[in-house]
């Protein structure tokens, strides 16, 4: 009898699939799925992607790096420290609660308690309710990036997350390890409502029928996200038609996806710079500016982009990519082997020297291959490199210990602004302020001074000048070895209209996706 019931059930399931074929289902294969449904538990790409599907920020980036009103309809600067946001009316959360200024303040305050996000909120004084649909956001000092930060202010449903859960614990709490209410429950204003979540297996969402954005062209009714870790399997799933969209596409498969008549390969410029840092405290040869310049001249990063990245990355000579405020056009890659050798001679290292080098092998696209190529290139100017590559789970501990003379690090600016690179990678390491957290051994007080000055400069023209000056100093100093800005590589079926959906932040706005 039980068998019969199961048979009927399975038949029913098969048939229900056939009936729902008219609806627009989007199947997505990514390399990982969000670790939680709590948008404030982890500051990572995956969690921010989810936030853009299930929640809405006050403002968001458009693909051409402008601010687009979302839950805030407009904003104005009241004084040096205050920005007033006017909120959208008539917006409902998934739970049915109405969105008001209270939710914005509540979410802002909760964010300040999250280990991951509190660093971002450091410049802020707080969020103040003016009336039901107006808030003032204040900073401690004049802060140039207030709007950039507003892209992180996702509104959570304050009523929904208030009270105690089944275990008698407050629903508001943020827990990295352990059962919290927000881990498995979400109520946002976003285009999708989570219907099923099995971590590392599947995340299913359905279109929010009461979505406030009536202008959104999006027509996806069901959105199924499967994490597919193995590169070959992810590409195979796309080629076989089992999924409609994948990210990332590994470089070795660019051609395959491109050649397939049913598929598109879409490349979007990303802001993540890949660099090697040279530790001047560990190796005294690297403290010599001429030696560092020689190294930068010896590394053919344009060649690496061409050969290893298959041409789908942008060779770099500075930290921030084009479009960022600090971008200086005159700074270009400077591969020149003869000059590199001459510089080594000038520095008195004609016979070369030995260095240790470390890089991860599963963190950035082709990271280990880039490191191997670099080791060879440095060999040509007499620098003997002892290279060690390892999985990221082990690499970060080594990085924290500054365990090698030359170490790889990639960085994407959280604020989409040039200053952020210097704050984390180039400012002198300072345990108290947290500046230079990922700087292994470059220190120039002038860079520190300029970076701090740029933070509170609200005159954008002056600010651009400061940021460009920083890039110039780092370039002349050969403060780091620049490689390239990684591109985001997406593979998608041709019937997906990705216009306005993809952006350099790698937050695909699937709410606006049209399946033709």
């Amino acid at each position: 009898m039980k068998k019969l019931a199961l048979l009927v059930l399975s038949l029913f399931m098969v048939m229900s699939f056939a009936f729902s074929a008219g609806a627009k289902t989007l199947k997505v294969g990514l390399d990982a799925d969000p670790v939680s449904l709590d948008p404030q538990v982890q500051l990572s790409g995956g969690m921010l992607q989810l936030s853009h599907w299930v929640f809405d920020p006050l403002v968001r980036w458009t693909p051409d790096m402008k601010f687009e009103p979302r839950l805030a309809t407009k904003w104005e600067r009241l004084d040096d420290l205050t920005m007033r946001f006017y909120l959208r009316k008539g917006v409902k959360f998934h739970s049915g609660n109405t969105f008001t200024a209270k939710d914005v303040k509540w979410s802002f305050d909760r964010m300040g308690k999250s280990a991951d996000f509190k660093g971002l909120l450091e410049p802020f004084e707080g969020c103040f309710i003016v009336d039901d649909y107006t808030v003032d956001i204040k900073t401690k000092k004049p802060y140039a990036l207030l709007l950039n930060m507003a892209t992180y202010f996702f509104a959570m449903d304050s009523k929904f997350y208030t009270g105690t859960d089944a275990n008698g614990q407050p629903k508001v709490r943020i827990l990295k390890i352990g059962e919290s209410f927000a881990l498995n429950n979400a109520s946002g204003t976003g285009a999708f409502i989570v219907t099923k979540r099995e971590h590392n297996v599947v995340l299913e969402m359905e279109r929010n029928p009461n979505y406030w954005d009536k202008n959104s062209p999006g027509n996806v009714t069901k959105f199924i996200l499967t994490p597919i870790k193995e590169n070959a399997t992810r590409v195979a799933a796309l080629l076989s038609g089992d999924v409609d969209f994948i990210n990332p596409v590994p470089p070795q498969d660019f051609k395959r996806v491109e050649k397939d008549p049913k598929l598109n390969l879409v490349m979007i410029n990303g802001g993540r710079i890949i660099t090697f840092q040279m530790n001047q405290n560990r190796n005294k040869a690297l403290a010599n500016t001429k030696v560092r310049q020689a190294i930068v001249h010896a590394v053919n990063n344009t060649g690496i982009v061409k050969k290893i990245m298959k041409g789908k990355a942008t060779a770099a000579a500075q930290q921030g990519p084009e479009g960022y405020m600090g971008y200086k056009e005159s700074l270009v890659p400077r591969y020149d082997l003869d000059k590199a050798k001459a510089l080594m001679k000038e520095a008195g290292y004609e016979n070369g020297f030995e260095v240790t080098m470390m890089a991860p092998n599963n963190r950035y696209v082709n990271d280990a291959k880039i490191a191997e190529a670099t080791a060879q290139m440095l060999g040509k100017i007499g620098i003997k490199v002892n290279l060690k590559t390892m999985p990221k789970a082990q690499y970060w501990n080594e990085f924290d210990a500054r365990a090698a003379d030359i170490m790889m690090i990639g960085w994407h600016s959280d604020t989409e602004d040039s200053g952020n690179f210097s704050e984390f990678l180039m400012m002198c390491e300072n345990k108290e302020t947290g500046y230079g957290q990922y700087n292994s051994g470059y220190c120039n007080p002038k860079v520190d001074e300029l970076t701090i000055a740029a933070q509170s400069e609200t005159d954008m023209k002056k600010r651009a000048e400061i940021l460009q000056e920083i890039e110039q100093i780092l370039y002349d100093d050969a403060a780091f070895v620049p490689f390239h800005w990684q591109n985001h590589a997406y593979g998608a079926k041709k019937n997906l209209n990705l216009k306005g959906v993809l952006n350099s932040q790698n937050f695909p706005y699937f709410g606006d996706l049209v399946i033709e």
């Binding site: 990572s44 994490p227 399997t233 799933a237």
Partner: protein, 328 residues
């Protein structure tokens, strides 16, 4: 007898302690789990605070004692960092997928290797026999990973007849919440085919060869000759007299190999994004989920120790000499 059983159980407990100790001592080599839980801009101070809360900074034996105490008194093997659920629940949740994969593979092996092995023994000189034998060498020498990719390329991409990854539709069995089965839906069965076939390529040649050689050996024995002399029909000689005796060693090997097969699902599960225990294990290694790794090690060890202990004790009942040597 009682002393024998008691000693066996004490030995089993000792083994468990040693295994968990070994698991604990390698855990710092895997990597830092806190790194995987936080974004890159979280300060070292914050990370240290999280590690402190997770109890990762405690001395080795404090951590070990806590683990053993919780395991023994509450049956609690800790909480997975990656899945954010109790480890036992995570392992239990992933077990059915692997069991079904191994079950399907075993089925394929039995259905194909038995008739082929017997045929090759009875008609060693035919084309089919020679073809089978040379083809099986190829099967043994090809890594599962490659076979799997090749199968995906042919059946999922080129002909597009079978799905490329995952388990497809599953049904929650008995309403338990953790045993989800793909055996009862058409979609689930379709998803099983490629992983099972690629996993079976590893063992299938072995069994064909084993059955063939065992059968050939049996056919040479005296009692088979006697049976022929008695004038029995070929079907009776082959199937009743020869085949039955062939099966004895084959079944023994099969039992051992099924156990080994659980270990080999690792690569197959990775390639097919099959959410079983092998996949879970690899994820835990990659993401430095040391808590889950130790729990998995302990659960697997526990299974082996319990089975072995029970077998030993049963042996003691069946064969008293075991017991006697045990008490000397």
């Amino acid at each position: 007898m009682f002393a024998f059983i008691a000693r066996r159980i004490i030995q089993a407990i000792l083994v468990m302690l040693v295994i968990s100790l070994v698991g604990f001592s390698i855990k710092d080599q895997i990597g830092d789990p806190v790194r995987d839980l936080v974004g890159e801009r979280v300060t070292p101070a914050e990370r240290a605070e999280i590690a402190e809360k997770m109890g990762l900074n405690d001395p080795f034996f404090t951590q070990y004692y806590r683990f053993v105490k919780n395991a023994v008194t509450k049956g609690d093997l800790g909480r997975s960092f990656l899945y954010n659920k109790p480890n036992l629940e995570v392992i239990l949740h992933h077990a059915p997928a692997t069991i079904e994969l191994v079950f399907g593979t075993a089925l394929i092996i039995i259905v194909i290797s038995l008739p082929l092995g017997v045929y090759c023994a009875l008609r060693p000189r035919t084309f089919l026999s020679r073809f089978t034998m040379s083809f099986s060498t190829l099967g043994v020498s090809m890594p599962v990973y490659l076979t799997a990719i090749l199968l995906i390329f042919l059946f999922a991409i080129h002909w597009q007849v079978l799905p490329s990854y995952g388990r497809g539709d599953t049904i929650d069995l008995f309403g338990l919440g953790w045993w989800s089965t793909g055996l009862l839906t058409i979609d689930g069965l379709r998803h099983l085919i490629l992983p099972c076939v690629s996993l079976s390529t590893l063992m299938l040649p072995l069994f064909i060869r084993l059955i063939r050689s065992e059968m050939m050996e049996v056919l040479e024995t005296e009692y088979i000759k006697y049976a022929w002399a008695k004038g029995l029909s070929p079907a009776r000689v082959w199937m009743v007299h020869a085949f039955k005796n062939t099966l004895l060693p084959v079944i023994t090997v099969f039992g051992v190999q099924i156990g080994i097969m659980f270990a080999f699902t690792l690569l197959t599960e990775l390639v097919f994004q099959w959410p079983g225990m092998g996949f879970m294990f690899l994820e835990a290694v990659h993401r430095a989920d040391i808590s889950l790794l130790i729990a998995y090690l302990v659960v697997v060890a526990c299974l082996f120790v319990v089975v072995n202990t029970v077998v030993d004790i049963l042996y003691g009942f069946i064969n008293p000499t075991v017991r006697i040597t045990g008490t000397k």
